[in-house]
């Protein structure tokens, strides 16, 4: 297993490196001249374009700009101020460092994602297993319909309806006040629970179907027949023999679908006005704030790579074939 972990960790670094190049290209491919935008701001009309370019570090070749962004080349002040130093950039539109803008946002997005994930998994896996054991019967049909409902109904529609109708019928608005977890944990959870459920809805449906399929596959296997021939009860067979095998199959698929969950935070944050990375991103795109955009996309990239790493490591832990490489 150690060999596997080391291999995986080593893969992490070059992947991240390649992604930074891709992101950098993106940042500079988005049309819209930042200088024009700045010059359009009140009070800036007279500023010399060339001077502005120099000030913003746009006069040097792209490679140098990339190096500066990463933090391996000194910037105009002669300092190393890049990603490797923990400095994610500066938003020229908002006039504030990207790190500053991230300060509370990233925690919001993270919390939303975690709640969505946990709620989905806690629903999806048990229902998926139940569905597999009752194949063809009414329980299975209901579960499958529920899963399809989850993936077919647009969560942003449901979310909007949930905000609108209780407001109309009962004058109720979901807590839209931003509360930090540290300050008031219960209120904070109250704020996140409905968005979290809606975020996880589609993900839940997908995982439910996957779990069901894999569980059915497992139940067809020879070793289940052996277990039955020993006289074990159905419950023990399910929990001790089938479950772990099914989970091994399901975990990698869960990992593959997590980016989908993370992407969903953008829409949910927009609807529920949660000041997370998603809203930051949309605004950055709309205002052509390239440095901010780059920083945010980098953030998402790192999250995804970390999640993949966690999934891979979990998989290598539960799967004995990898954990105990041939002795």
């Amino acid at each position: 297993m150690v060999k596997y972990i080391v291999k995986r960790l080593l893969l992490f670094i070059p992947t991240l490196f390649v992604m930074t190049i891709v992101i950098f290209i993106f940042m500079h491919a988005i049309p819209g001249d930042i200088i024009d935008a700045l010059q359009a701001e009140p009070g800036n009309e007279e500023i010399d374009r060339a001077a502005l370019e120099k000030f913003m570090g746009l006069d040097v070749p792209l490679i140098v700009q990339y190096g500066r962004w990463i933090g391996i080349i000194r910037n105009i002040d002669g300092e190393y101020k890049g990603i490797l130093n923990g400095y994610l950039g500066y938003s020229w539109i908002k006039k504030v460092s990207v790190n500053r803008l991230f300060r509370t946002s990233w925690a919001m997005t993270l919390e939303l994602s975690i709640i969505g994930f946990v709620v989905s998994i806690f629903l999806a896996i048990p229902i998926g297993i139940y569905s597999a054991t009752k194949q063809g019967k009414i329980g299975d049909i209901l579960s499958r319909s529920f899963a399809i409902f989850c993936i077919s109904v647009p969560s942003f529609w449901l979310a909007t309806m949930i905000i609108v109708y209780p407001a109309i019928w009962w004058g109720y608005t979901p807590p839209l006040m931003v509360v930090r977890f540290r300050d008031a944990p219960i209120d904070n959870l109250k704020m996140f629970i409905i968005p979290g459920i809606l975020l996880g809805m589609q993900f839940c449906g997908m995982i439910m179907r996957i779990t069901r399929t894999k569980m059915l596959d497992v139940l067809r296997q020879d070793y289940i027949r052996t277990a039955r021939s020993k006289g074990l009860s159905q419950k023990i067979i399910l929990v001790r023999h089938a479950l772990k095998n099914a989970l091994i199959l399901v975990i990698t698929l869960i990992g593959q679908n997590i980016p989908f969950l993370i992407g969903g935070t953008i829409i949910i944050e927009e609807i529920f006005s949660i000041p997370g990375m998603g809203r930051l991103l949309i605004n950055a795109f709309r205002s052509r704030d390239n440095e901010l955009t780059g920083g945010i996309i980098l953030f998402y990239t790192i999250i995804v790579l970390i999640v993949n790493l966690i999934v891979d490591l979990s998989y290598s832990y539960i799967n004995p074939k990898i954990r105990y490489e041939s002795k």
Partner: protein
């Protein structure tokens, strides 16, 4: 064997295939009730989108400011929006948009997946390695962010949207085709074809392609509802279908502003989306059920 017998055999085979198709269709309606329901929804959707110009009572942007934000009435079955436009008509034109974008993007995606998957799976080597790494990265990255980024670069527009959706989905989907190709490649008959000197192109077209048809169909049927949803999400965020074309996702987004005063602005587009995605999903599921087990008969290499 006499020539007559050969011809008769061929003929019988053709007839058997035709009746097998008929039987399959009949079986479909009998067994797959939900799938049939999905099929009906899809057909209705297609009809509405093709004949939108004829069916819609008003133009898609026909504004009637005096009558804005009215709920259902005899003149406006679904009501009007904040600019006085008839919602029913916009839903109908939205169907057109959904079908055009959804199906075109899926088609483009499937074509890209097949081409990439065929080359990647059959030829392997460095090309395969590079493509697969790219696929890995693309799969790991939240698609919506990538799509928004691409739309920001290319600008809004229906064509750009179709290309962007199709491209991303196509590259990622190539993996499925690739595994199917590799599965088929491992069969002895491919080696046999090679041994008698078939060119690669011939092998690809006549030997491999027919065996991956079921996978291709399955890929396409999963793509369509996915494309519809993603387009709706993008339009909802403002990075999808541009004005003047109405899109259900966009209607939901603009409806939010007036949601308290006129909640019906939100009901119809959302309902339409849900029903359509549900129906296409059901149809896809049923088609998959029918095709998959039948085609899983390819034996592994034995020799």
């Amino acid at each position: 064997m006499s020539l007559n017998k050969i011809i008769k055999r061929r003929f019988d085979k053709e007839m058997a295939k035709k009746s097998a198709c008929k039987i399959m269709i009949k079986k479909f309606f009998k067994n797959e009730k939900i799938g049939s329901f999905g099929l009906i929804i899809t057909i209705i959707l297609l009809i509405i989108s093709i004949f939108a110009n004829v069916i819609a009572p008003y133009g898609m942007n026909e504004a009637d400011i005096d009558n804005k934000l009215q709920s259902s009435s005899s003149t406006h079955l679904f009501g009007t929006d904040n600019l006085g436009r008839d919602i029913l008509s916009r839903i109908i034109y939205g169907a057109q948009v959904t079908v055009v974008v959804g199906f075109s993007a899926s088609l483009l995606s499937t074509v890209i997946s097949v081409i990439l998957g065929l080359f990647s799976g059959y030829f392997g080597g460095k090309f395969d390695l590079i493509i697969q790494r790219v696929v890995d990265l693309m799969m790991a990255f939240p698609s919506i962010i990538l799509l928004i980024a691409l739309m920001s670069i290319l600008g809004t527009g229906v064509v750009q949207l179709i290309i962007v959706l199709g491209l991303r989905s196509g590259i990622v989907g190539s993996r499925l085709i690739r595994s199917a190709v590799i599965d088929v490649k491992e069969n002895v008959f491919v080696d046999a074809a090679n041994a008698i000197g078939c060119s690669n192109k011939r092998i690809l077209l006549r030997h491999i392609l027919p065996h991956i048809i079921s996978t291709i169909i399955i890929l396409f049927t999963t793509r369509v509802p996915n494309m519809v949803m993603v387009e709706a999400s993008l339009s909802f965020l403002g990075f999808g279908i541009p004005a003047p074309f109405p899109s259900w996702g966009g209607m939901l987004s603009s409806g939010r502003e007036f949601m308290i005063k006129a909640p019906f602005l939100l009901i119809w587009p959302g309902l339409a989306l849900s029903i359509v995605v549900f129906g296409i999903n059901m149809l896809g599921d049923s088609i998959r059920d029918l095709i998959d087990p039948r085609m899983k008969g390819i034996k592994k290499r034995k020799g």
